[in-house]
């Protein structure tokens, strides 16, 4: 089975580039150059150099002993939370800013939900001295004031998305509209494995450093580079795709993708896309989309802003359809408790997104000596407010 994109931009029946003609030249330019650019030794050296010295990679693979003891397995945490800016998002923005630079682009745009991708984009723009415009739903701007301040400190302009439901989905629409209106000098840094081809593949490649490191780190620690289980949370799905990437062809490794059930999958307030969505087109690719019978995209809900997206990347849709990965969901309450538990057992406060992956441990049955890797995609600093309110801290 092939889990990677084909030459037309499809993963099975998912993917493609459903974009208006105005974006065609930009997408074509990327499509024709990204593989060559990424493979270029000079690019690679600069990318890996920045990941090492600026981002702080490799991120540790940490054996969480007390957590392992509780669940009866060897549980390793891939510590993306220790990256500069606090999450996995920067792996992608470092890659894309180098690409934008090589394409001669002068202006960078991005969308952001919770603000993590916006911060990661503003960071690399400051690093390279490029103009940065971040679209953020008006509702999210209010909810995520510290990240808005971070972006501003680094010189980015944050523009509120006032259309639709004024959250991530609409911020993405606004960023795409900006790109339509500024087709020549602007590069759009999409933050997840979504969007028209080649974005899902490009972002997956930049995030694949996560599983690349995991393999050699695991080999070093256990003498075996393939774990029994690999787990990650999925909103659009970039940390999960990075975490799965180098394990996709090793079918002995079971992949578990954890979506946000919100207040429960039947509550009407959920973001469990594979369960509640059906095939459709959103933000330029054919995938699984939460929508009405008439094809109107519905607003998802999760306590975690990073998982609050009504679609998943097309490669995830393919992994779901082919059953290569198992897609499950975790409620707000389960995730919050898993976050608290990790803080108490390991002294690590995870992002609420990552807490969803952790929470699924409760639903698994281990034989005793299995190896599990969980992507700890981000740190919980940005979520303190939510944790405080939830637990009356």
């Amino acid at each position: 089975m092939n889990y990677q994109v084909n030459e037309n931009g499809y993963y099975g029946t998912f993917g493609g580039a459903y974009i208006p003609e105005m974006l065609y030249p930009n997408i074509k330019e990327l499509r024709e150059t990204y593989l060559e650019m990424i493979a270029d030794p000079v690019f690679k050296e600069e990318y890996l150099g920045l990941l090492k010295d600026y981002v702080g990679r490799p991120s540790p693979l940490y054996l969480a002993e007390r957590l392992s003891e509780k669940y009866g397995a060897n549980i390793y945490l891939k510590r993306e939370d220790l990256n500069h800016t606090g999450a996995h998002k920067i792996n992608n923005t470092v890659g894309q800013i180098l690409l934008a630079e090589r394409l001669g682009k002068k202006r960078i745009i991005a969308e952001t939900g919770a603000g993590q991708h916006g911060v990661a984009t503003a960071t690399v723009c400051a690093l390279k001295g490029l103009e940065c415009v971040v679209y953020m739903g008006e509702v999210d701007i209010e909810r995520q004031a510290p990240n808005v301040a971070r972006m501003k400190m680094m010189g980015a302009t944050v523009i509120p998305a006032l259309s639709g439901s004024r959250t991530l989905k609409d911020a993405t629409n606004e960023a795409l509209r900006d790109w339509i209106n500024n087709p020549v000098d602007t590069h759009y840094i999409i933050g997840s494995v979504v969007g028209p081809h080649p974005y899902p593949d490009m972002v997956a490649r930049f995030q694949s450093i996560i599983s690349e490191e995991t393999k050699w780190q695991l080999l070093e620690k256990t003498g075996n580079s393939s774990p029994d289980y690999v787990m990650a949370c999925v909103g659009g799905g970039s940390n999960a795709m990075g975490m799965f990437y180098h394990f996709l062809d090793n079918e002995r490794v079971k992949l578990i993708a954890v979506e946000a059930a919100g207040k429960g999958v039947d509550s009407g307030e959920s973001a469990a896309t594979t369960l509640l969505g059906k095939e459709g087109v959103l933000h330029g690719s054919r995938s699984i989309v939460m929508q009405t019978e008439d094809g109107q995209v519905v607003e998802p809900y999760s306590i975690s802003a990073g998982l609050d997206y009504p679609g998943i990347g097309p490669q995830h849709a393919h992994l779901y359809a082919t059953k290569r990965a198992q897609y499950v969901s975790i409620t707000d309450d389960e995730a919050m408790n898993a976050g608290l538990q990790l803080a108490k057992l390991e002294g690590i406060i995870p992002a609420i997104e990552s807490s969803h992956a952790l929470a699924y441990l409760d639903k698994m049955k281990f034989k005793g000596d299995e190896t599990v890797v969980i992507c700890l995609s981000g740190r919980g600093d940005k979520d303190l407010d939510t944790y405080m309110k939830y637990f009356n801290l």
Binding site: E21, Y24, K169, R177, I180, G280, Q291, D294, Q296, V297
Partner: protein, 257 residues
């Protein structure tokens, strides 16, 4: 014969097409507006299928779409409304909408419904050439539907030729790379682009759209193409009180200044 082709054969220049959103401002205003536009002198019409995430549209059409969805407009409801279309309207009608609602309705069913109610063509801005050719072309053609492609100042000559080959109605020439509802600023650059297209002597007629809002821009566009398309400016009018009464004057002033 397809009504679109007929229109371009009968009328050589200054063809006026008007876009409006189905179900806006009221759920049942769709056909009344279409009828009034024909009476006022529009040459053909583009009826927009509202979508929650219209990424090629500016605020005016976004808002009309949102209102239309709130009013209860769906693809199904629209085809119900259009059952009487050919009793009331004789000019060509195109449906313009994003690909997802069409996919959910079913592409084959959509094409069949268009043919059944007398729709002549379809504009789906986010259905790209590759996907159209691979998956949808035969279905459109067997229902005698024109599929209208967009081109922009950034579209290469090679691709324009390809689009011309695939088109069977007219080509939608964007005045600039932009979302809908911006004002057309005619610069030498824009005129060079219009002239370049004109000199390519395409087999399909061309209509200029995006940024056409008054007689001045309409006349300018008509110098370089078979006519022009007005969308946001008209949708804005539909947002006013007594909009039905204002339609004749709006069309007159577009044509005559």
């Amino acid at each position: 014969m397809n009504r679109i082709k007929q229109t371009f054969e009968q009328k050589k220049g200054s063809i006026l097409s008007i876009y409006f959103t189905a179900g806006y401002p009221e759920l049942n205003s769709t056909l009344n507006v279409a009828e009034a536009l024909e009476k006022a002198g529009a040459d053909f019409l583009e009826i927009g299928i509202p979508y929650s995430d219209p990424l090629a549209d500016g605020p005016v059409i976004q808002n009309s779409s949102q209102k239309a969805i709130e009013n209860g407009m769906t693809v199904k409801v629209l085809f119900e409304q259009l059952k009487d279309l050919r009793k009331r309207v004789s000019i060509p009608i195109l449906l313009m909408g994003y690909v997802n609602p069409v996919l959910q309705y079913g592409v084959e069913r959509f094409c069949a419904s268009c043919a059944e109610v007398g729709v002549d063509g379809v504009i789906v801005p986010d259905l790209p050439v590759y996907e159209y050719e691979e998956m949808y072309r035969s279905c459109f053609e067997s229902n005698n539907l024109s599929n209208i492609f967009l081109i922009t100042p950034q579209t290469s000559d090679e691709r324009i030729r390809k689009i011309d080959e695939l088109s069977n109605g007219f080509i939608y020439l964007l005045s600039s790379s932009s979302t809908t509802g911006k004002n057309l600023a005619v610069s030498t650059q824009t005129e060079d682009y219009f002239r370049r297209i004109k000199n390519m002597k395409l087999k399909n007629p061309a209509m200029i759209g995006f940024g056409i809002s008054n007689n001045k821009t309409f006349s300018k566009a008509s110098e370089y193409a078979n006519g022009a398309i007005v969308g946001s400016a008209f949708v804005k009018l539909l947002g006013c009180e007594n909009y039905m009464e204002k339609i004749p004057e709006f069309i007159r002033s577009l044509k005559e200044g």
